[in-house]
Amino acid sequence: MPILQAKNLVKRYPLPDLSGKHFFAVNKVSLAISAGEIFGLLGPNGAGKTTTLEMLEGLTDIDEGEANICGFDVTKDPHKVKELIGVQLQANEYFDHVNLLELLSLFTQLYGRSHDAMSLLAKVNLEEKAKAKPARLSGGQKQRFSIACALVNEPKILFLDEPTTGLDPQAKHKLWQLVRELNAAGMTIVLTTHNMEEAEALCHRIAIMDHGHIIAEGEPLELIMRHAPEPPQARSHGTLEDVFLHLTGTALRE
């Protein structure tokens, strides 16, 4: 039994032209993620990755379909689900005038728990920033702090929405290392990215989304062999980037 199961998720928004027609941000997406997996949701901007995550997290209403996490229905039992998941959002801003330690203990208390905030900061290498305000952190530090906030309830599943976007290679590798450590300790991780290198390096399994649909799913190597088996030049096979471009086209998205 998968730890996360979604069937035919649909999210639609009315088109702004008042024609009564809808724009389908997510269109019949089904997912099955096993415990202990690092699952990657890939796709160009606007493909529906974030909306899919937000529906699973209970942040956006599910218009059609259903999803359950650890056996709890996301729509019917959102509170139970929220207690089981940890979430890092794309926007990682926090209250002004409150330092990292205070924010972490706030988040811990929202779950009715008590947790050693300092050891959490140590886990993400931010001990020396304990008294700093989040606004003073660098991009990589902010992302690591966001992950620390997502860990306060020792979640079964950790959702990471574009955790490395905008980070330099060093910060990126540091974050990958953190994700691997958490996963090695038994945490299931669902992340979105449009960085193919990241998907190939981190994910056990990936799903590629475009225009609200999942258009391919499988293990990275499996997808490579299926969609880009020929080596581009000297290499024995293409990269995931080739898979990505093959499946979603080369046109620029806004």
Binding site: Y13, P14, A25, E54, E57, G58, L59, T60, D61, H79, K82, E83, I85, V87, L89, Q90, A91, N92, E93, Y94, F95, D96, H97, V98, E102, L106, F107, Q109, L110, Y111, G112, C149, N153
Partner: protein, 361 residues
């Protein structure tokens, strides 16, 4: 409950560390109070009268002496051209010239008065007093007894000057400003920064979030208003005629009403700009219509019923009744009822409109 308490603690922390907001929330009401207190003090000062005595006889001496005894006047003697300049400068309110022929000679002597007619308000006060003094001197010289005398007794029930009218209004106005800024503006900021989203991906419930913010803001508002009250009482010598408890009841009710209105606004507005516009739309008319700076009675009759029904009017009127007129609970019933109705309306809207979820992209 403990989560509500946790949110309250966090908001108190944020509020107490936001020095700038703290400063400005007290700065403007204090500025107004002190500006108007200096204004009203200036009125109590004596008028300086210029005096040029061209007669230099017994009669003119007696006249000057009588003038100097009037407490409202201070008299400066000198030559005409110097004093004329002082009238122009405004240092001397009025220049009185006694002609050389100023004596008790049967025919009335004409006194020349040089004034700046732009200062009508003060002239209206000075001229009758001056005439009074003239009559007194005349009676003294002629040995006549006055037919009437008036004894004025001050019951000192209320200090009915502008400042004591203004202070309760400013307190009410501050309640509105702090409460609306504290809920509406913050909600929009938190939503735009994604903080609301982040909070509500935890098991936090909207009621706990709102409860925490209301408690923190309410508590803070009480402290800020207490500071203003202390300054008004000890710094500006405003006397609180009615019970302090009722003042606080009005402040708490007013804060709750405006927090509710702020929450509703914060849910309607999507951007910081639109909440500013919406905030002005709600606060500006009340600032001018709710009897903060002048009584509602001076407004056109058509507007008065609307003005009287505004939430700020209930707070301002209530505070004025208690602080100035010493009203008790019974006299306050209409204001309290009005505020309770507004409280229900604003809370209804606050809860119905509050959304932390992302609506449309």
């Amino acid at each position: 409950m403990s989560v509500t308490f946790t949110m309250m603690k966090t908001f108190l922390r944020i509020l107490s560390r936001d020095r700038q907001a703290l400063f400005f929330s007290l700065f403007f009401p204090l500025l107004f109070m002190f500006a108007f207190s200096f204004g009203s003090r200036a009125n109590e000062e004596s008028f300086t009268l210029g005096f040029t005595d061209l007669a230099g006889n017994e009669l003119s001496d007696a006249f000057i002496k009588a003038l100097k005894e009037v407490p409202e006047f201070s008299v400066e003697t000198g030559n005409e051209s110097d004093l004329r300049e002082k009238v122009v400068d405004g240092e001397v309110k009025l220049l009185l010239i006694l002609p050389p022929g100023f004596q008790d000679a049967g025919s009335p002597a004409e006194l020349k008065v040089v004034v700046d007619k732009a200062q009508v308000r003060e002239l209206g006060l000075i001229m009758p007093m001056l005439e009074q003094v003239l009559v007194q001197v005349e009676r003294q010289l002629r040995g006549e007894k006055p037919l009437f005398s008036i004894a004025v007794e001050d019951v000192k029930a209320r200090a009915q000057n502008y400042l004591s009218f203004l202070v309760p209004g400013l307190l009410a106005f501050t309640v509105m400003q702090i409460a609306i800024a504290g809920s509406g503006y913050n909600i929009v900021e938190y939503r735009r920064k994604g903080i609301l989203k982040r909070l509500f991906v935890t098991p936090l419930r909207p009621s706990q979030f709102i409860g925490g913010l209301v408690l923190a803001r309410g508590g803070f508002c009480l402290v800020q208003l207490s500071v203003l009250l202390l300054i008004a009482v000890f710094g500006l010598e405003i006397t609180l005629a009615g019970p302090l408890l009722l003042i606080y009841v009005l402040i708490i009710l007013g804060t709750a009403v405006f927090l509710g209105i702020g929450f509703a606004m914060g849910s309607l507005a999507k951007t910081q700009q639109s909440i500013m516009a919406l905030g002005n739309l709600v606060t500006f008319p009340q600032m001018f219509l709710s009897g903060i700076f002048y009584p509602i009675d001076v407004l056109p009759e058509l507007v008065q019923p609307i003005a009287n029904a505004l939430p700020l009017s209930f707070v301002a009127r209530g505070l004025r009744e208690v602080i100035v007129n010493g009203a008790g609970l019974v006299e306050l019933v209409p204001q309290l009822l009005g505020l309770l109705v507004w409280l229900m309306v604003s809370l209804l809207f606050a809860v119905r409109l509050f959304k932390w979820k992302v609506v449309a992209a």
